[in-house]
Symmetry: C2
Subunit: 483 residues, 2 copies
Amino acid sequence: MGWGDLGAFGEPSKETPNLDQMASEGMLFLDFYTASPLCSPSRAALLTGRLPVRNGFYTTNAHARNAYTPQDIVGGIPDSELLLPELLKEAGYINKIIGKWHLGHRPQFHPLKHGFDEWFGSPNCHFGPFDNRALPNIPVYRDWEMIGRYYEDFKIDLKTGESNLTQIYLQEALDFISKQEASQQPFFLYWAIDATHAPVYASKQFLGTSQRGLYGDAVREIDESIGKILNHLQKLGISENTFVFFTSDNGAALISAPKQGGSNGPFLCGKQTTFEGGMREPAIAWWPGHIPAGGVSHQLGNVMDLFTTSLSLAGLQPPGDRQIDGIDLLPAILQGKLIDRPIFYYRGNEMMAVRAGLYKAHYWTWSNSWEESSKGINFCPGQNVSGVTTHTQEEHTNLPLLFHLGRDPGEKYPLSFASDEYQRAMERISVLVQQHKATMVPGVPQLNVCDKAVMNWSPPGCEKLGKCLTPPTSDPKKCFWPH
Amino acid sequence: MGWGDLGAFGEPSKETPNLDQMASEGMLFLDFYTASPLCSPSRAALLTGRLPVRNGFYTTNAHARNAYTPQDIVGGIPDSELLLPELLKEAGYINKIIGKWHLGHRPQFHPLKHGFDEWFGSPNCHFGPFDNRALPNIPVYRDWEMIGRYYEDFKIDLKTGESNLTQIYLQEALDFISKQEASQQPFFLYWAIDATHAPVYASKQFLGTSQRGLYGDAVREIDESIGKILNHLQKLGISENTFVFFTSDNGAALISAPKQGGSNGPFLCGKQTTFEGGMREPAIAWWPGHIPAGGVSHQLGNVMDLFTTSLSLAGLQPPGDRQIDGIDLLPAILQGKLIDRPIFYYRGNEMMAVRAGLYKAHYWTWSNSWEESSKGINFCPGQNVSGVTTHTQEEHTNLPLLFHLGRDPGEKYPLSFASDEYQRAMERISVLVQQHKATMVPGVPQLNVCDKAVMNWSPPGCEKLGKCLTPPTSDPKKCFWPH
């Protein structure tokens, strides 16, 4: 989902009444970011409170490449990383993930080995259908074992776009919340649905209901589902005791637009890029009785802050033995404070840009290669800002491209290098970058090695279902990350 | 102002709390249009309920050119046109215009000759400062006589951006409303301020207060002023008896961005173009006790509808002796109905595009000429949609470029000519265009002839002020309209 996909953020069809109401009852974050313009690294960052370059969710196979966790990835979330649910356990929380895990699908990376008590969902994205020969269909797990596969037991009709997956994930969420309320045990629910990701789907009752086509149908279904979850919390009388945060893991994928891709509002480019369209996200905090209704925050936030903020809510401290990038947002959320902190925009192993206050400095620019671009792969369709949306990896380290995101949210007008404003802003930013780089200890890159043998051929539980497939011989190779 | 300049429409700094509140108490229009991507024709259309090509606010000096009313324009609003205040008079309304008139500055075009009872403001835009030799400074009128000139008696500091013009216009509005309330006479106030037009200004208390720079300062001042006007209506106890509508006369001027130009949100290009960024406008209707609070309308609306709607509110019928393009929006506003009607996008004498439902067909495309473009005049900065944002006037009459504005509000993905969807949509649109063209009787073009002798050299009242200037010899010429 992109920043511009919600009515509250200016989507011109305004079809998200539930999320808009969530905002009007809670706090809207206008300057909230992911930690990566791509799914897996962003989700790893959310759960660890650490930049992907620290928690290992990056590649060194090539410079500044977006890498994630397809079926043939060998790596995943390292044991050495401490995940939010692992820590919340100490405070008695029961943790559930519903939806897409995406932090590795081999046994050692299983979410129940990393702090979650329950899982309903899938280790990878719902790509497919596959033939179960070259590629197995993606499994769906309940806890330790798979209970079926996408396109087989969990239908997605690519022709009509129909699938009731979001409804299934919604029901799981409502059931879990009911159960936790009944047992009076605190809970952490990570509702990580994958609708709006291409191939886009929605259930029958939503198909054709949006002005925006199938993508909008999916957004509407998510919107209504979130309304039902919030309503459920209220009906159970636990809304004043439950902190809810809505956000996305990367900007809208403009490569899938307009039929399967969303909107990044006034921002430049989309998913896969470190321009604002790739990393600025819709974000809403909701906690009736605590968060003042109708609040609007310009706090620079990041998905990694949800780690630290959640710990804070549970009365826990973040681990002291490692660098944590997330900050506690509670002063911003509850007291309207503005905490001065930078945002770092990474693409793989490279810090591409940094935001401090309203200034954003690009140290590297790249959309994607000319070669890809000529094949129609376009992360910036209809947009071409000279010297900014470059098709070669352009280094600007010695003289970063600087934008004022207040006057120029679309990153179209770099400030003059000779201006006083440029000098003043870069003096400040240079210090932040120096500090950041001086203390940077990259983790072991997890997204370097791919092997068809590690794909979801025979997940645990496959025997019972008669759905075990024979893996090919192991042949580990460097993963190829084109952009 | 552009569609994307208000918080309620997704401006990422969200600095318009008063307009956002106006929307939450009233109705937000998401699909509201001007009648022209330029000031004078749009304002003429608003006050006559008729397309500029009918009321004469266009040029035939060249094909599809944007023309307006600079100081040397010879034409203006013809006597044969019936303006909204002329008609409202019949129902006992007192009519006042505050701000920019822009329908011609020669004596016969004076607003008090066209139905207004009072005027405080200026016939032209606040361009300047001029030397009073080649060009006179623009006069400011109170009713029949000028009371000073911009940059002389009404200061605008181009260096600091300081001017208290909006405050002056605000006070005029509050005073007029108070007076009308005291005399218990119904009123029509056309608050046609010109702040946010370059050169942008704001009063001292707003300078430097916006994240968006000087342009944002001006928006904030307008926002606060509108809050004060609405508050004044409420304090006087007449809010439930006063219909208020907020909108703009064209999209944000991206040529002035980022320092002096606003945002068109997710839409393509800006002022001067017939893409969505040039003509879709922020729009809010407010009438406590009548309009349901928090309403959102997808009614296709147009500034010309304010003519017909206002007449309807006053219990009057639109004139039956001429084609009126505006429709009565009250069913949409009060009962949430959706009235099926097309929107026509004109540039000068050419119907460039038409919208019906969610489809928009371009019969002609043009941003501006290559020659202008190479000089840095750019109505689509950072945007370049191949075959759409053309730099030559491209005719598509036989095979219009078709967009689905729901899935693709940014007009980036023309539908395939071969698709069933294209065929179905164009069948319907073709009929609408045929009907439109069949009944089109263009007015006498008012914006063809320019003459330096007609400029604001010696407006009435100049003698008292000692501010009369000697006009040059009359030398009428064809006006040059570059784009």
